[in-house]
Symmetry: none
Subunit: 150 residues, 4 copies
């Protein structure tokens, strides 16, 4: 039993060391360079005070690295060619919550229409999507992760 425990502890130590070193090398560069969402949508109508209650889709980006990251977003539509890239700069060690409907270059993303988002970043970032809908005279809120790829 004592031997088994010792072996187990040794194994734990090795495992932690290997993981820590990997982590130490990569530092705080958490995330990936590519993320995808298929459930994009933002209602054109809202009720209540602006801007808190304005219906929207907001891309929540986190850059934990020491360098700025440029996120290139391609917007896929239901009935026409994809549009992009929309470029979002996220400063080092900052979070940026970017309302999709404030993206106007190369063109505004239509409201009341389904879209998909593909993010290609030049460094690792973390992305989540917020949906806020105040059309019904009340607040509906939902958060969505990117789809798990591999």
């Amino acid at each position: 039993m004592a031997l088994k425990d010792s072996l187990s502890q040794l194994k734990d130590t090795v495992s932690d060391t290997v993981r820590d070193k990997t982590s130490a090398v990569r530092g705080a560069d958490l995330g990936r360079k590519q993320w995808v969402f298929s459930a994009g949508f933002a209602p054109s109508q809202s009720t209540g005070a602006e801007p808190e209650f304005t219906s929207r889709n907001t891309l929540c980006l986190l850059n934990t690295s020491a360098a700025p990251v440029c996120v290139s977003v391609t917007v896929f539509h239901a009935d026409r060619e994809p549009v992009g890239p929309y470029e979002i700069l996220v400063e080092p060690q900052r979070v940026k919550h970017q309302r999709i409907n404030d993206l106007i270059e190369p063109e505004a993303v239509p409201l009341d229409a389904p879209y998909g988002l593909v993010l290609d970043a030049d460094g690792p970032v973390v992305a989540q999507l917020l949906y806020l809908d105040s059309r019904g005279g009340n607040l509906a809120v939902s958060h969505l992760n990117p789809v798990p790829l591999d």
Copy 2:
């Protein structure tokens, strides 16, 4: 039978090899061929204007590839055999938000009843599920990713 299986396996291998190479070339074949949801449900009742406020479950599909993708959906029920395939065609480089309750072949998916969804696509797609519930006189919205497999 053995020959058929061998041929089928050979076809899969070739297909995968081709996809891997294609993917390297084209870049944009994002997603997987199989996705699963266990929390399917759509209320029969709604309040407010149609169709925006109609209670529903909507499958949000994104095909970033250059070829059309056919998604075969099998619907699992609580108390009877699975039903399917329901076929959804997603055009190349398009998003498609498909209300589950608009699927009527081979038969309508019952409202007010739990179901699970297994998606098998003939090419990589991205899938997320939207739930909208206006029964309570207000809007409740939730988004759900497929379960992380592997």
Copy 3:
């Protein structure tokens, strides 16, 4: 360089073949045997008609395999020892949406209190969690995937 690429491609092909075969053998046994949620909670209060609008936490289970699956649930609490196993049987090729607060053996899961869930199944299942809250005189709904474990 050319040799290295060839080796790399060979490795990929082998890897894909192995995965395909595994997948072919497992057939429709989708999911995993273990899932975890840390955000469990069910309000004791509700408004509106029962049972549709009763506040709740519901575990949505899908068994795509040809054999029944028994899911053993351990409930972790904030201030006392874990309780379990709660056993849920999911018939072959069926979905089961199990309200947590209908689990009474070995004891009822307290309302208005945080809990975590660990699921250990004797076969692969898919699990997602539904939260419905009608306390506020309106309906709030949220869906949650299990945490992604390796």
Copy 4:
């Protein structure tokens, strides 16, 4: 180059082997030591009874292991340096639902402002995030998983 690659592969193999064995030996240490959320936000305003209806962001932590786990949280802001660590102790085999806005050391996390969260734990934990918003005179609730890393 070849030597470096060989070493790297060897390290990966060792690391995987160690992890596999560790997991088999330790049984219930579910989760990971690092988790990330980019969609942090808590409204300053609420309606309805406190504390049930107080708008909030709550970190739901589960420690299934036999030892206490200390979770160090770093909060990333939109316009200034990250702040932390905030330390949360989760007792063995307990769940802890920690309201972000109750964290006051080293400083309170601002309301009505976007933030990101990086969790570094000294043992494996499971983390999910709850969002509750009662600003609109009704309840909106959403749950969010950490982003899938690797």
